[in-house]
């Protein structure tokens, strides 16, 4: 099958699963994508200049325009699917495509988020079944709940949550807050330079106060920090991971609701025929920049030299950011039909 035929097959399957096809512009306003993803997306997306509309981007993904369309005039619950090219700059010479088809499926609303998670994952599993792929799941909601449950200041929790998608920086902050990394005592050097620029004296004073408060804050206790480090590196089959999380729950009670949701999701997955005894779970899966997932996450991986064949997850917070106050639970994922076609050819299935 050609990539296009494979795309058509998947697109038809998503429609058969009840999704309404949606179309989005290829040229997207850059501003909203930059505000969401930050400056890093400039390295990945093609930015162009329109004489009237300003900076535009060649669609780097469908999620943002699909969410916008739904927030503007969608029903609840709603299922959408889409098929089209996305564009990603590649900074290294090689075989990675800078323009490729994506077929996606998104579920908005509905009575049970966990049932919607399971619906999306089992549909993807079914469509990709004949291929030799390794599925991985995760749940960023558990990590976020653990951070919110730390016995430390709101400022520190906010700092950790802000960097949850930047694992390296998150780790550095956690090391600092738990005393694993030495905290350099830096007396502030006074300056008699005139203040220039937009950032005001009040803002500088506020940060000086925040620094003093942070310096006076005791470290995150060793047992609590150990739990968080343990959680970051948790990799186990899903049921074993659940047992492990239930084991640490008495020590970190704040994660209980998130673990309950995890359990409900496993039950929903089981009822759809997914073997949760063997399903791989990695607590840190999906924590990469240019992502926005804040709950269930998944990926389907082929050989190591290929990008993920399919990936997705829950992004409730994104709908709040784009919804101007309104928000709606949302979960979905995308498949790259060219990679499916390539693997099908290689394995003759």
């Amino acid at each position: 099958m050609t990539p296009r035929a494979e795309a058509d097959r998947l697109f038809a399957a998503f429609q058969a699963a009840g999704a309404v096809p949606v179309d989005t512009d290829i040229l997207q306003p850059a501003e909203i994508l930059l505000d969401l993803y930050g400056e890093d997306i400039r390295a990945r997306a093609y930015v162009t200049q329109d004489p009237l509309r300003g900076e535009l981007m060649l669609r780097p993904d469908f999620t943002v325009p699909v969410v916008q369309a739904h927030m503007a005039h969608g029903a609840d619950p709603a299922r959408y699917c889409y098929l089209g090219e996305v564009f990603r700059k590649q900074d290294q010479p090689g075989t990675r495509a800078s323009e490729y088809l994506q077929v996606g499926f998104e579920v908005f609303g509905g009575p049970s988020p966990e049932a919607a998670d399971a619906e999306v994952f089992s549909l993807f599993t079914q469509l990709l079944a004949p291929l030799p792929l390794r599925a991985v799941t995760g749940d960023i909601g558990i990590l976020m709940a653990a951070v919110r449950g730390l016995s430390t200041t709101a400022a520190r929790k906010t700092a950790l949550l802000r960097h949850i998608w930047r694992p390296h920086r998150f780790r550095a902050l956690l090391d600092q807050f738990s005393g694993r990394a030495p905290r350099a005592a830096r007396p502030l050097q006074p300056s008699d330079a005139p203040l220039i620029g937009l950032r005001s004296t009040a803002e500088i004073d506020a940060r000086i106060k925040a620094l003093a408060e942070d310096a006076a804050t005791p470290n995150v206790t060793a047992p609590e920090a150990a739990l968080l480090y343990d959680l970051l590196s948790l990799q186990a089959p899903a049921e074993a991971a659940l047992t492990h999380l239930r084991g640490i729950q008495p020590l970190l009670p704040a994660i209980a609701p998130a673990v309950d949701r995890f359990e409900a999701r496993l039950t929903a997955l089981k009822s759809r025929g997914i073997d949760t005894q063997t399903l791989p779970f990695e607590a840190s899966h999906g924590r990469t920049t240019l992502e926005y997932y804040d709950g269930f996450v998944f990926g389907f991986h082929g050989p190591d030299d290929l990008p993920a064949v399919a990936s997705g997850g829950r992004y409730d917070a994104l709908t709040a950011v784009l919804g101007a106050g309104a928000s709606i639970p949302a979960v979905g994922g995308v498949i790259r039909p060219a990679l499916v076609a390539q693997l099908r050819k290689a394995t003759a299935c």
Binding site: E39, S191, R199
Partner: protein
């Protein structure tokens, strides 16, 4: 003809000429002082191309010149995955300049990039847009800030007089080349800890320029004369 691209004016051109002259390769601007053409003596088959230093990386990557002298900052900023397009043959020991981030000296609470990240988060909440950093070194600065996990900033393009952008309220911070720091001080700015890139004039070889046996042989002769690694 083996083509070598050299900066077309100023100190950088003079120092490049001096470096080659000291090794028995004489470079000369031909004709009038302002004519952008030149000659190379002392080795056979080498042609001089005088170019803006900023265009030399592109010409090397396109394979229109075989060798080129320019700042290592320009190669790293203008070429994606630069090592796959050019090879570094020699650091020439002049044209030193550091690419740094500078903020208002009155920001006593900001001395590191981690501080900048925290200030950017608060700034965005207060002002409703991402903290602006003016620069012309987009790739180097973005890669550096990404490596250090800085968020809530935006890069503003500034091709000159970058030190003035903060006072003019078009940026909150800058990322620019400095050698002595005097212009920064005069504009009430201070340097954050950590250098993004310590640049100097460097001789590069294009990995894409078309080679004939003759050009390859002339290249070996030139490299030998310059006492640089060459095939026996």
């Amino acid at each position: 003809m083996l083509k070598i691209g050299v900066p077309s004016k100023g100190r950088l051109m003079e120092q490049t000429f001096d470096w080659f002259n000291a090794r028995g390769v004489t470079m000369r601007q031909s004709g009038a002082m302002r004519e952008y053409a030149g000659t190379v003596e002392g080795v056979p088959g080498v042609g001089l191309v005088l170019l803006s230093a900023g265009e030399i990386p592109r010409e090397l990557a396109a394979g229109r010149i075989h060798l080129g002298v320019t700042g290592s900052d320009l190669v790293r900023d203008k070429l994606a995955d630069w090592q796959s397009q050019v090879a570094e043959l020699a650091s020439l020991g002049f044209g030193h300049a550091d690419l740094i981030i500078a903020v208002p000296a009155a920001w006593v609470d900001v001395t590191t990039v981690d501080d900048l990240d925290a200030a950017a988060a608060a700034f965005r909440l207060m002002h409703g847009f991402r903290l602006r950093i003016a620069t012309k070194y987009h790739r180097l600065v973005r890669d550096y800030l990404k490596r250090h996990g800085v968020a809530d900033y935006q890069l503003i393009d500034s091709q000159g007089a970058t030190e003035g952008t903060v006072k003019n309220l078009t940026a909150e911070a800058i990322a620019d080349i400095t050698s002595t720091g005097e212009t920064l001080r005069a504009n009430h700015l201070k340097v954050l800890d950590g250098v993004i890139h310590a640049s100097q004039a460097t001789l590069y070889r294009s990995l894409t320029a078309p080679m004939t046996d003759q050009i390859a042989s002339d290249l070996q002769t030139l490299l030998k004369k310059l006492a640089l690694p060459h095939a026996p």
